[in-house]
Each structure stands twice: as C-alpha cells, then as structure tokens.
Point group: C2
Chain length 141, copies 2
Amino acid sequence: MAHDTGQETLAEAHELSRRMLQVADLTRSVFGALAAEFDLTAVQARAVLRMYEPTPMRALAEHLSCDASNVTGIADRLEQRGFAERVVGSDRRVILLQLTDRGRRTRRALAERVGAGSVVTAKLSPTERRHLGRLLDKMLG
Amino acid sequence: MAHDTGQETLAEAHELSRRMLQVADLTRSVFGALAAEFDLTAVQARAVLRMYEPTPMRALAEHLSCDASNVTGIADRLEQRGFAERVVGSDRRVILLQLTDRGRRTRRALAERVGAGSVVTAKLSPTERRHLGRLLDKMLG
DNA sequence: CTCAAATATTGACAACCTCAACTAACGCCC
DNA sequence: GGGCGTTAGTTGAGGTTGTCAATATTTGAG
C-alpha cells in the first residue's frame, strides 16, 4: 500500500463492474424510452438506425446479433406499422428491408436524438468526453 | 478550430453515443453469457445477485425496474429450478424471496466471476480503470 | 370498525429469442 | 445440362420477459 503500485483488490474490480453494468442498464433504458417516443421498441429502433440503405435481413440479424428467424418477426412488425417494406434483391434469395418515407423521417429524427440527448453528453465536460471516448475505444478494440 | 475550445460537432457526439451503446450491448451480452454458465438468464442472475438477504418481491421489482407482476414469474422459475424459495414475512402481505443452498453457492460464484472476467478488466490498465471509474461515477451521479 | 393503501397473484396479450425443419434460389463442378 | 451442397428467409413450437387490469389478502390509520 506504500505508493501506487497498480495493485487492485477484488472489491475494486467488483465495484467497477457493478458501475459498468449500471451505466449499461441506464444507457439501454434511456435508449428504450427514446425509441418509445417514436413508437418503436428498442430492437426495432436499432434496426431502423441500421437501415440507412436497403439491408438484407441476414445482415440485420448479424447487426442485432440474433437468429435469422427472429428478424422475420421484427421485419413483420416494422412493415405492419409502416416503417419499412420488403424488397427482393437481384439475388432472389435475399430480401432487402428498406425504410418507407415514414421510416426515413423517423430514422433521421431518432439519430439526431440519440446523438444529442445521451446520458453521457449530459454530465461530462468536453475533456472528459474525449477521455471516455478513448477508453471506450480501447474496450471495444 | 484554432486551439481546443471544447467545441464539439454533432458527429462527435454521435460517435460517442454509438460507442457507449456498443459497450452497453457488449457488457450486457457478456453478462448474459456469464449468467448462462450458471443456467440462469440475465434477469434471473440480476435477481440472484440482489438476494444477499431475503428480499421482498416488491423490492426485487424495483431493483429490476419492472412491474410487480413480472417478478411473480421470475420467482416462479427461480423456485422451480431450486435457486430460491418463497417465505412469508412478518407483514403477511409481503413474500420474501430467499436463496436456497444452491442459490447461495451460485450467487457467490457468480459474483466472483462478474468481478473478475469483465469486459472492462480485460483491456484497460489499472490507471485507466481508475479513470473509467471516476467517469462512470460522474455519469451515474 | 371501516376503508384506503400496499402486496402479490392471475389472466390476457405482445415482443423477443432460439432451435429445428422446410422451401426456394444460387453456384459450382462434372 | 443436371446434380448437389450452400445460403436466405420463413414457419412452428416453446420459453422468458414485459405490460396492464382485475382480484384477494393484509395492514394501518381514522
């Protein structure tokens, strides 16, 4: 304990994990509420954000890291509510999911709100945000 | 753009949010996989971790930020699989959910793994972890 | 005692998720 | 061209999480 040796107790690691999970929950919950404002569920919102171009359902499944069969239902509901529509691609096996006008408007507005109103943005200084950015990169890399 | 003014573009804010969501997803997904190792879903694992003492279902509902009726089902499944059991409290309206032996063992092991194997712990230096801790505090505070 | 409030449960319904089985289309190779 | 493994998407079964409204029980305050 003399000077700072980089030693860490198990308790400290726990604490960090706990807060990490807490922030993750908060982030998710804020995102969910945001999605709800546009009459979307969290997963639907993630899908919509990904569809800046007509997107094969398969690619969507990978982006959402879920089974392909799951995307069928998600696409059904997006289509049913008028956010997206199915279009056959040149490869006639693949079906592209493509935003409707409503979908495009929603996507634009959603993307703007996601960038602006984040949990993060609210409470950190610009310097801290840069710092956080670097740390996030390292964790993701 | 002369020197650092703390000015940020919308694009930068977007980027930060995107990575924040990405880390949140990753954290959640790692936690889910961890829970699965113990034959628990993510929500069940969160409940188990919370039950360091007999816990009113109501309190559980608040901890999980969900409806009370939802906890009924979660408790059912935890009970059914032998992780927990229902006990009536002194106030006979409230039902305490309490870990069984198996539940306690699982909780201990789970807590240890959560602290140790986190996404965070893996890739950051001790100094960076301390830094991250401060930033997380600020975001949660 | 009476009655409002709190606790848990139930039933109805929706979304999400996985797995296994299936169809249709593609592309390669002989 | 004709097989044949591969890929994309769907379907159906089954399970977990989540909400809301209605209900029974208990509690505590007036």
